[in-house]
Symmetry: C2
């Protein structure tokens, strides 16, 4: 009772007692279990983060990084729960919702379509890096179309005219938006169809994929695609890569064939992949996925109590280095 | 009261009432806030995960993946809180400990030495991928020495005799253990000192590092190191790389110089880096950091109530591919 009074109504407790209690609290590392407080009483607010594969794969971790950073700056707490299936099982939702979060960010590894469980919608959810056809939700996603358009535009400005495009497997918003961006830039520079080459990566059979990498194509196909394309005459003078991992395989293949980057072949990446983007020789010009900005926007949505639903597209900046 | 009775003593409530209450519960998505229950009463137990940079960098995320997986299989819950500073700030510890976890896994991005806050020790902490000089704690770490020894042994078995070693910056357990492993294998194969070449990566100035990559060396130095080493006569016939990222830069440099892997130069990696290990042309022979096994062991330690402190070294398996 005295401890409770010291914490909640210190003015009712005599100074010496107050000090004694406080010293004990420090010594025992006592903490108010403030999740146990009934709703409505003051407690530090919570953002729940439900991460679909995000924290187990290297590509979108900056999303959760940014959410946690912003939340802490505002005195909010965050708890992250990972899920590895497209429809999170009930016990995962139980875990997250038992913390009574003020809002939940549902974040995915790649820009994709999701179906949001009703329970998350009732808890107040905002989507990061994914979108849905369900009404009334706010979704923060990368502007793949703008990013890809800008990158290809920069490439063509350098004079390259016979592009080989290596596309992501069809079916994701990222894949179709990037195709649109490429076509818009090609049109602007009058790249004739006969001067364009296109190849599409096919997904790996699911059986041989570790669970973290489900839905990933086999990037080594890039070598076969290039081998084939370089036999043609005239050969492509640049490669527009589905992402930096494709570019990584393309680099090794081109360099082993004695082709110089960017003099003989220009290369454009996509993602500015964390931890790898800086390891290319010569450094890779690419398009950065704005994962930090997306995480920050999603967290702000909850912290600032925004209500407006819709799809918010976040700019993908071009990163100019030395591969064209 | 009736709701509480239905949940806790259903046999005291008449069947029709019970059903009505249960239907309402389903409809309202009511959940027992079981973190709010006093300690001692039954609730689903919790593992707290305090991740130092783990979830914001691509290299050790499998640790948290494995903890969450095992915990769920045992009906435990997990909550992950990231921290970005070597001494986690008080509010981060508050967040984690207010959940009253049965135990906490403190996991770090790379195998390193840490100083564990007293509050975590009192809460029951186990270390994953890091170790400490503080007494009484259990630490699960990769057996870098064994892994590096095995890898170099396999390389020398193939007949390579003039190794160039590119080492991690000194100061971490990983760096010194790997050096020991290399020297043990060299001794066994009588590799004379004059036939060995050694270079040490230096850390990047902290000012130009994003917070997620603090403590990382500049891997592009690899190109300068190789450039220098290849001028010597006789030149090295294989490269023992500090990790897969060094190997990635080495590949590009060697291939651009017209050298073939493995015919002209053999390459050995370390890490089997998630998402990148499979993108080498030819595929990289490397040593896998046992991140999943470490996460699983740390989680088991808590779930099974193990008490024995000590440093547990987890085997690093050699991954045989095609780079030597």
């Amino acid at each position: 009772m005295t401890v409770s009074r010291v914490l909640n109504y210190p003015q009712l407790v005599a100074e010496p007692t107050r000090e004694r209690v406080r010293a004990s609290i420090r010594k025992l590392d006592y903490m108010v279990n403030d999740l146990a407080r009934p709703l409505g009483k003051s407690r530090r607010p919570v953002i729940g983060i439900l991460a679909l594969n995000v924290a187990t794969t290297p590509y979108s971790v900056s999303i959760t990084f940014a959410i946690e950073k912003l939340a802490r700056e505002h005195g909010w707490r965050t708890y992250l729960v990972n899920t590895f299936s497209n429809s999170p099982p009930a016990n995962v939702l139980d875990s997250l919702l038992s913390l009574r979060p003020e809002g939940v960010v549902f974040a995915t590894m790649g820009h994709r379509l999701v179906n949001v469980p009703e329970r998350l919608i009732r808890a107040g959810v905002v989507l990061a890096n994914c979108q849905t056809s369900q009404k009334g939700l706010a979704c923060y996603v990368p502007d793949d179309e703008q990013g890809q358009y800008d990158g290809v535009h920069k490439l063509l400005e350098q004079g390259y005219r016979r592009p080989l495009c290596i596309h992501l497997p069809e079916g994701s918003p990222a894949a179709s938006l990037r195709r649109k961006g490429i076509q818009r830039a090609f049109k602007e520079f009058n790249i004739a169809e006969k001067d364009q080459a296109h190849a599409v990566l096919s997904p790996k059979p699911e059986s041989i994929q570790p669970v973290q990498f489900r839905d990933e194509p086999d990037f080594l196909q890039t070598a076969f695609i290039l081998d084939d394309a370089l036999r043609r005459s005239p050969r492509p003078d640049c490669v527009i890569c589905a992402n930096d991992r494709v570019a990584l395989v393309a680099y090794q293949y081109l360099l082993s064939r004695g082709l110089r980057i960017p003099q003989d072949v220009g290369v454009l990446g996509f993602d500015d992949m964390v931890g790898v983007g800086g390891l290319f020789l010569p450094p890779l010009s690419t398009i950065r996925l704005p994962h930090e900005e997306i995480g920050e926007a999603a967290a702000s949505h909850i912290i600032l109590g925004r209500k407006k639903p819709g799809i918010y597209r976040v700019k993908c900046p071009f990163v100019s280095r030395a591969s064209f």
